[in-house]
């Protein structure tokens, strides 16, 4: 798209993503991913599944996350997913997905609705048991759970044993970062 003259800010308010290491874990603000929600129109789930498959977009089952480069997605609600794609190539995420699904799905740009903080390192279960009601120790890789963290609604996505994304509302990014930092200092 055309080169406009406005400069973006990261959800945490910086011009570059925030990052912090506490004990064995590192918190990283992730901004290079574009998001769009994809909801199947009534009775058109099969079409949506087929188009997604053809385009190489994963549409995982309930409570699940799945990556298939360049796309990834996690389940939001019945017949509804959050699709991730590289920001550099899919900045206008809705426009990028419309050709794939046509009028079989309702697609909404969600990139800027969220802040994503990736927590990486050892001992994540010990950290998350002080944060939210997700049993990280037994949750399989690819588990994606929406829950509450210090009064904030978040998605907790277990991308790997040592990588968990916490995705929360952009407006409370600072509060979310603070909660993760405080808990990390408390645990480690």
């Amino acid at each position: 798209m055309a080169e406009h003259r406005l400069k973006p800010l990261c959800p945490l308010g910086g011009t570059s993503p925030a990052r912090a290491s506490i004990g064995p874990v590192t918190l990283t603000e992730v901004v290079d991913v574009a998001l769009a929600s994809v909801s199947a129109r009534l009775g058109r789930t099969a079409e949506v599944a087929a188009s997604a498959a053809a385009a190489g977009i994963p549409l995982p089952g309930p409570g699940r996350f799945e990556a298939r480069a360049p796309f990834a997605a996690f389940w939001l609600s019945p017949e509804s997913w959050m699709v991730e794609a590289p920001f550099a190539t899919h900045e206008d995420s809705r426009a990028a997905l419309l050709p794939v699904f046509g009028d079989a799905a309702s697609i909404t740009e969600q990139t800027d609705a969220w802040v994503r903080i990736d927590v990486t390192g050892e001992g994540l279960p010990a950290l998350f048991e002080r944060l939210c009601n997700v049993d990280l120790a037994t949750a399989p890789e690819g588990a994606a759970t929406r829950t509450i963290l210090e009064h904030m609604g978040v998605y907790v996505v277990k991308r790997g044993a040592a990588q968990v994304s916490v995705i929360g509302a952009r407006s409370s990014a600072a509060a979310l970062w603070h909660a993760l930092e405080t808990a990390a200092h408390s645990v480690f």
């Binding site: 309930p62 409570g63 389940w75 939001l76 609600s77 019945p78 009601n133 929406r146 829950t147 509450i148 609604g153």
Partner: protein
């Protein structure tokens, strides 16, 4: 309490918002004769049983499903959880 979500499995009730008696699904026709009376009974009167109660919970901090939960109001034991959308269709609701 723990609500055994039909799609997501056991989730803490803290993630949910409670509305009330699942009979609220049976909304009368507002354009029918005598709607004023049927709506009064529909909106204001409750069985409020001491025992099994079918009630609406919304998974607001979850997948945004409305559920019909069958729960014992004396013991809090939950014996059935269904998607409200399925219940609504089964009760003849459509558009």
């Amino acid at each position: 309490m723990i609500i055994n979500h039909p799609i997501l499995g056991p989730r803490d009730s803290q993630e949910f918002v409670y509305l009330g008696d699942a009979a609220l699904i049976d909304r009368p026709d507002g354009l029918a004769e005598g709607a004023l009376d049927t709506f009064h009974d529909y909106l204001y009167l409750r069985d409020n049983p001491a025992g099994l109660h079918r009630e609406l919970w919304y998974h607001e901090q979850g997948d945004r499903s409305w559920l019909v939960v069958t729960r014992n109001t004396l013991t809090h034991e939950i014996t059935q959880v269904e998607l409200a959308r399925d219940v609504a269709r089964a009760r003849g609701r459509s558009k």
